[in-house]
């Protein structure tokens, strides 16, 4: 890949080896740089593994509370309309503790870009089950295999969103689609609408997978349950 994907501003990643977060962040930086939007961009972080991005990119960044990044960025955007606000959040922060705010941000068509990194678990706290956990998936809070329903955040949000909103799902092993969707999402915010991209991501630490098995889990399990593409 080009020099744009080099480690941003020389920071060492604090993410676990094999984590998908740095891929999402590097793609984000690449697209911001491409559009010359680094100065306008403001990255708000939820709590969870997302918080590790706090000093990672050469753009304004701050941490918030678990589940609270979306309402914070809604407030920021309303105060500074020319900013490009990005709410960066995991699947737990987005679809469990922060769901009420995320749902209403979509319902009101708030012009914020929400990046949801979906690794099917609460990564930072030890891999507990999340709304996105797959049927049968073993986690510390579903030791006999997850028996609940799996949540499809983008599909639900699509039902209440403005037709001009951009809602999509991609995966961290598809850089071309990631960049394409990020580009569309940014343009959507610039046009004054809500955008959300869910990134299917790796969590080898909590999936307890090694090497190719991590990629296989995403390709074979996650993608069989979560359909990638624009939600239309």
């Amino acid at each position: 890949m080009s020099e744009n994907l080099a480690m941003p501003i020389g920071r060492q990643a604090k993410f676990c080896p094999g984590c998908g977060h740095p891929i999402v962040l590097m793609m984000l930086q690449r697209i911001l740089k491409q559009h010359n939007l680094e100065a306008q961009a403001v990255l708000g972080l939820d709590i969870g593994c997302s918080l590790l991005a706090w000093n990672y990119l050469p753009i304004n960044t701050f941490q918030t509370h678990h589940g609270r990044v979306v309402p914070t960025m809604v407030g920021f955007k309303r105060a500074r309309k020319n900013s490009l606000v990005i709410a960066y959040v995991g699947d737990g922060g987005a679809y469990a503790i922060g769901w009420q705010s995320l749902f209403h941000a979509a319902l009101r068509d708030e012009p914020v870009l929400v990046i949801v990194v979906n690794n099917t678990v609460y990564g930072m706290t030890g891999g507990q089950s999340a709304p996105t956990t797959l049927s049968g998936q073993k986690t510390p809070t579903s030791p006999d295999g997850f028996t609940g329903n799996t949540m499809y955040g983008p599909e639900i949000l699509h039902q209440v969103s403005n037709p001009e909103a951009f809602i999509a799902r991609t995966a961290v092993n598809d850089p071309k689609q990631m960049l394409d969707f990020l580009d569309k999402a940014i343009k959507t915010q610039q046009a004054g609408h809500f955008a959300l991209i869910e990134f299917l991501s790796f969590c080898p630490t909590n999936w307890r997978t090694k090497g190719i098995d991590t990629v296989k889990f995403l390709e074979e399990r996650l993608k069989s349950v979560f359909k990638v593409g624009e939600i239309k």
């Binding site: 960044t61 701050f62 309303r78």
Partner: protein, 347 residues
């Protein structure tokens, strides 16, 4: 500020006027009695306003607006005030100049909708922090105005979140407010906490205990240093007082009337009314109580001792005046009740 010098306004109208005059650009709020009319009043003002899905989003919306450099506020009560402590906790940690108007109602839980003084501890020490916030308790509508102006100014000047702790009764009554006296108040301008021309990387969570400890020590030291510039209180008839009545907010106004009446009956009683509950006017109270003449301290409040807890905690341990309490949570207190209580007290 409105041109008419003197106006007959409700507390809600006073808050809206004060926030407008303070330079607030936006409000985020969720309707809850008794603060709904602040939200609807702000909508009427034509300024930016968002009715959020809950008080959590309202509080974090204010945090976001403040981070972007905009004066912003919210208003709530009781159960909504509880939810707001989530964002207030972040504001305390990151020293965001968030302003919150609390119209206390009866509690716990949904309680009643008009009046009580049961949100004192929540306002002063809510959240998983150490109470590093400014809390003002107005006793009438003129003070409601001036303290709301102060809340915005001091929040932005000193970078601490601020609460104007009032109650539904104060918000719903009408009083004459003479705006002439406030003409000289100057606004502290907002600053952009996340500037556009440089990169800020701002943590709110720390990996090392020592890192957090340094932040906490700094926050506490700053808080103590600015306290002398912020603390305010009213005292009355304290020079030769043997009995000191301590009360805040609207109960403070009632207690003042009782002190005036008791003095007519030659009872040596004085009033200490903290106007700032955080920081608390500790040294001033110590000084008054340390005169030794004070034999009895009576804390009067509409709660089972929330103000009393703060007073006992703050008062110097060597002060040996005995305590008594007039406590009526959820109820208003009439001057006659205070007078009767004091007359029956044994020193």
């Amino acid at each position: 500020m409105q041109n008419n010098k003197k106006q007959f306004l409700t507390g809600h109208e006073v808050v809206v006027q004060a926030a407008l005059d303070a330079g607030a650009e936006s409000m985020f709020g969720y309707p809850i009695t008794p603060t709904c009319e602040i939200l609807s009043g702000w909508f009427e003002s034509g300024k930016k306003c968002l009715q959020t899905e809950d008080e959590i989003a309202a509080g974090f919306g204010v945090c976001g607006a403040v981070l972007a450099g905009e004066k912003s506020f919210t208003a709530s009560s009781g159960p909504g005030h509880i939810l707001l402590q989530d964002s207030f906790s972040m504001a305390e940690a990151m020293r965001l100049p968030v302003v919150l108007i609390v119209g206390q109602r009866g509690g716990p839980s949904s309680g009643t909708v008009i009046y009580s003084q049961q949100e004192v501890i929540l306002a002063c020490f809510g959240g998983n922090g150490e109470g590093m916030r400014l809390v003002y308790s107005p006793s009438n509508l003129s003070e409601l105005y001036s303290l709301t102006r102060r809340a915005f100014n001091e929040a932005w000047k000193y970078r601490y979140p601020a609460i104007v702790l009032t109650d539904g009764y104060t918000l719903k009554i009408r009083q004459n407010v003479d705006f002439d006296q406030f003409k000289k108040i100057e606004n502290i301008p907002p600053i952009s906490l996340v500037p556009e021309n440089k990169i800020v990387h701002w943590p709110n969570i720390y990996t090392a205990e020592e890192e957090l400890n340094i932040v906490l020590e700094n926050t506490k030291n700053d808080f103590e240093n600015i306290a002398k510039e912020i603390i305010s209180f009213e005292s009355k008839e304290i020079e030769d007082a043997e009995i000191l009545l301590i009360a805040h907010g609207i109960v403070g106004a009632v207690t003042k009337i009782a002190v005036e009446e008791l003095r007519k009956q030659n009872i040596k009683v004085g009033l200490f009314r903290p106007i700032t509950l955080r920081p608390f006017p500790k040294q001033e109270l110590d000084k008054i109580c340390g005169w030794k003449k004070i034999k009895k301290i009576i804390v009067v409040e509409s709660s089972f001792g929330q103000l009393a807890r703060i007073v006992r905690d703050q008062l110097a341990p060597e002060i040996d005046a005995s305590f008594d309490y007039l406590q009526k949570p959820g109820l208003g207190i009439e001057p006659e009740e205070v007078i009767e209580f004091v007359k029956n007290i044994k020193i």
